[in-house]
Point group: C2
Amino acid sequence: MTSQPMRTPSVAGIARAGTKIAELLPPTPLLECEIFGQRVWLKAESLQPIGSFKIRGAWHRLTDLSEDERGRGVVGVSSGNHAQGVAWAAQQLGIDATIVMPIDAPQVKIAATQSYGARTVLYDRPGGEDRDAVAQRLVDQSGSTLVHAFADPWVIEGQGSMGLEIAAQMAARGSAGPTRIICPCGGGGLTAGLSLACPEADIVPVEPEGWDDVKHSLAAGEIQPVSKDAPPTACDALQTPSTRPINFAVLKGRVPFGLDVSPAEIRTAQRWAFSNLHLVIEPGGAAALAAVLAGKTPVDGRTAVILSGGNTDTAAFAKVLSSSV
Amino acid sequence: MTSQPMRTPSVAGIARAGTKIAELLPPTPLLECEIFGQRVWLKAESLQPIGSFKIRGAWHRLTDLSEDERGRGVVGVSSGNHAQGVAWAAQQLGIDATIVMPIDAPQVKIAATQSYGARTVLYDRPGGEDRDAVAQRLVDQSGSTLVHAFADPWVIEGQGSMGLEIAAQMAARGSAGPTRIICPCGGGGLTAGLSLACPEADIVPVEPEGWDDVKHSLAAGEIQPVSKDAPPTACDALQTPSTRPINFAVLKGRVPFGLDVSPAEIRTAQRWAFSNLHLVIEPGGAAALAAVLAGKTPVDGRTAVILSGGNTDTAAFAKVLSSSV
C-alpha cells in the first residue's frame, strides 16, 4: 500500500507516545487481584474514554501528522475499536476522518464511531470484500493518510505506551516491573508494542480459536494467514485475517509462542470480570484473562493481564451473563 | 447502644483516614464524561477491592482499634457492602469478624462476606426483626466492638476521605475542587463524610423512592424514619430504615435537601454506565447518576457524581440490561 509508512517502530517512539498520552489521559487502573492464590495485575484499558486501548496508537499517529497532512484527513480501517480511536483523536484535533468498517461490526461500535463525527464506509466482510482495497480507494481519491489498525509504526508505538504505564504503576506500588504480560492479540499491534516497551517481560499473545494466525506464524517462523474457513467468533476486535511484516518483524524471535482460547473460555472470563472486578469486558478484550483462568499460562506476582476493551452490546452481554457455559 | 462510640466525626479525622487509605489502596478512577453537553466527574468506587466505598470507613475504624479491642473481635451490621468492608479489613488485620446481614441480601454479597473469612448471622428483615438488637446481643456476648454501617464517627470519616481524593484528582487535572457532589444515600454515612470533607461543595444525597428518609428528615428539620409500608427496592445498599443523630447532626443546616429516584431511573443509569463507562454499577450505586440523567439536579464542570458500588448478581444485571424501562 503506497501510503503505508515504512519506518520501524522504536523504543524512543514509545517513550514519546507515552509522554503525549500521559498529558491527555489519566492512567487506566492497574487492579490487583488474586487468581489461583497468586496476585495478578489487571490493566483495565476498557476504561479509556473510547472504551479500549486503541486511543493510544490513534493519538500518537494523528498528533504526528504535519499541518498539510491534517488538512487532507485520515482514513482508518477497523471493526470498531481502532475506528473509535481514530474518530476520537480526529475530533479532538479537528481532522476529517473516514472509517472503513465491516458491515457486521457491532452496532454500538458503528454508532460510537459516527458519534465522534467520523464518516463510516461499510464493506462486506462476510462476503469477502477486501477492506484494504476499499481503504486504498479512499486514500487515492482524497490524498488522505491511511491509519492502519496495527501495521503502522506509530500505532505500534502508541499501544506500547501501555507497557510503560504498567511498569510505572507497579513501581509506584513497590513492585519491580512485569515479568510476563498476557495480552489479547488481533493483528499484533499491541503485542509488538509491548514487546518493544518491556524488553525484560515475556509477552504472551492470546487469540480466539480459529483466528490464531499469530500463534501459527510464531510456530512456523513466517506469516501464516487465518484459514479461509475460520469459525465465527464473538471477538470482533481480534478478527484479523493476518498479521503484517512490520508486526511480525518485531515478534519473530522475541515472542516464543501464542495461545488460543475457546468461546466458552472467553465467556467465563467475561463473567469473572463482571463478578470480581465489576467491569464490562468485550469478548476480544477478555481473551488474555480467559487464557489465565483456563490455566493455559502460568502467572506469578509480576504478571500483567491486559483487559483491552469493553465495547459490547447490551443484548450480547446479557446473553453472556445468562449463559452457564 | 452502649458500645456506640459517641465522639464527633472531624475534619482532622477525615485527613487521617485519607492518609491511611492512600497507603493501602490506589485512588479509584475519577472518570470525565459529558452529560447534557457538560463535563461531569464520575467517581468509580465500584472499583475498590470489595466493589464499594465501604472499604474506607471499615479500614479507618478497624485500624484505630486498640490491641485489646482487636483481640475481642468486631461485629458489623450490613446488607452487604459494609459487611464486605469490615470482613476485608478484619482479614487484613487478623481480627475476628461477625456480620449481621438480612436474610434477603443478594447472595453474591453474603458469599463475598464469607469469602473474607467472616462469620455471617442472618436476620429476618422482611419479617421486621430488629437488626440492631441482634447485633447488640452478639456484642454483649463477646465484648466485641460494634462497627455500625453509618452511625459511627470513624465510618463517617473514612467515607469522607473520598471527598479529599476527588479534590486531589481534580487538582491533578488542572481543575479547582468540586462545587457539587451528588451521592447515593442510605443512612447518611457517606453524605456526612463528604459534607465535612468538602466544605465548599453542595452535597446532594439521592435515595430510592419510598426509602427517602434523609430527604424527609432534611425537609422536616428532624429525623423521620422510612414509612412502615415502604415499597420493595432493588437498592439493597440504600435500604436503611432511618438516619441517626450522629449523621443528622452533620447534615442538618449543611445539606439543604435530598432527592429521590424511581426504579426505572435507576435501571436507566445502570444501562448508561454499562454503555458509556463499561462499568457494572449496582442499583444503589447508580442512584446519584440516575438523578443526574433524569435532570433532577443541575450539573456544572465541577460536579462530582459518586458511583458507590458494583456488587450485583449476574441474573439481576442481565435483567436490567434486557429491560427497556
